[in-house]
Symmetry: C2
Subunit: 261 residues, 2 copies
């Protein structure tokens, strides 16, 4: 990829992160920093555009670690807490703006944000230190500069979530699907032969709302992705052990990993 496109994995963990509080398993006690996983989120830089996907509970720590100082918009995959609980950390990205911070999501996700963080959406939210959200309902592809972003509706158990396809001129397209159990046909068609697929692979065993490692590998093959990164990983996945079982075009993501740049 060219120097003007960079994707950073802010977090690659499942809803409780790794290590899990109170857990003594080998992965939770591991010295391998790639087994320390905050909640899943990515940051994208495309030219002058700086985008955050999801605002999970580890956002402050992730932003400090990666020295994020400016964000032009937040894209939300869905309203589960491991993707929105860091909403209030976004205030630091509102202080230097004259306009609300665009927050893109499905109607359902934006409704969840309004219900949880009602004060921020209220007309009475005039205190300059607070988050100033600019909700934008996603109803199709949209652009930031030259970057085209297409929503990828997928099924996450009984909840619909939205992955995103990022297409920048001269760059290999990248798709991000952190919370998915099943890819419906329309989204499968959009994804066909994508260059880079980042996909949920919670654990070796099946789970009602997330893809297992085996299901993720099957999806990567069905999509025909040229390469793939596994994310949203639980403590049943040891980084090195999991990666040793994968074909060379499929890798295991870890917090702080950058692609491109």
């Amino acid at each position: 990829m060219a120097a003007d496109f960079e994707l950073t994995f802010l977090g690659t963990g499942t809803s409780v992160g790794v290590p899990v509080i109170g857990c003594e398993c080998a992965v939770c006690r591991s010295d391998d920093p790639r087994n320390h996983r905050g909640r899943s989120s990515i940051h994208l830089r495309a030219g002058d555009t700086s985008l955050l996907v999801d605002a999970g509970p580890d956002l402050r720590e992730q932003a400090l670690r990666e020295n994020l100082r400016r964000i032009d918009a937040v894209l939300f995959t869905h309203g589960h807490l491991d993707h929105v609980a860091g909403f209030d950390e976004l205030r630091a990205f509102c202080w230097h703006r004259d306009t609300p911070l665009p927050m893109h999501g499905s109607r359902e996700t934006l409704d969840t944000l309004r219900r949880m963080f009602g004060w921020a959406f209220d007309a009475a939210n005039t205190y300059q230190g607070y988050v100033k959200p600019g909700p934008v309902e996603i109803d199709g592809p949209f652009h930031y500069g030259d970057l085209r972003i297409s929503p990828l509706p997928v099924e996450h158990g009984r909840v619909d979530t939205m992955g995103f396809l990022f297409e920048a001129p001269g760059e290999p397209p990248v798709a991000y699907l952190p919370d998915v159990k099943r890819i419906p046909p329309d989204t499968l068609a959009t994804l066909r032969n994508v260059d880079i697929l980042i996909i949920d692979a919670l654990r070796p065993d099946t789970h009602p709302t997330h893809m297992s490692v085996g299901e993720a590998l099957a999806a990567i093959e069905e999509v025909g992705a040229a390469s793939a990164w596994l994310t949203h990983l639980g403590h049943d996945n040891d980084h090195a052990a999991l990666e040793s079982t994968l074909p060379p075009n499929i890798r295991v993501a870890h917090d702080g990993l950058r692609i491109g740049g």
Copy 2:
């Protein structure tokens, strides 16, 4: 204090923590680990009882750092995000219980939790991995074992918050007031001559909803506290510089500090 009473400062920071995202000030760039402050919270161990006060956004990191594995109850001071955003991290403390996790707070605070995390309070919340809250409205002093806990209503700008007075047999009483602008007369009477007062001292300058350092020092004197710790500190407070200005019975708290034990 005896070995069966231990108070740990899980976090001593203000709502955005220190360092502040994007800030270049000397405190935010400081190498002194005492200037790295997660959001304010304490843990109390009294005999066999393990209590958490507040569940802020840094709870997972704080619990891992302090190796917290069991909590008998959570006491909430109020419903602001820097004190409740870690609600979902409490699931790890519910997995090994047969009963809901008691959550003590004012009616207003419990209403905020129900509004933000409605799914957890819903009768349909039967999935074993989720937080199982047992809300308990505070209407006066209550006990866990020999530990007596008295609510300390205080004013935090336009919001009422609740501090707590902890009294264990044979131990010096400890009061915790992390978010306070004014102590009303009844609470002042309860606090009179307390041995250890832990109190909000946001910054040197005045603030509409928090005590400044000067206001905290005046309150400590008015209460007649034998000793005090300053907490809920912003990036205008350098640990060493602030402590150098204080009388010997008043100290600056920091994340990970333990009293007693």
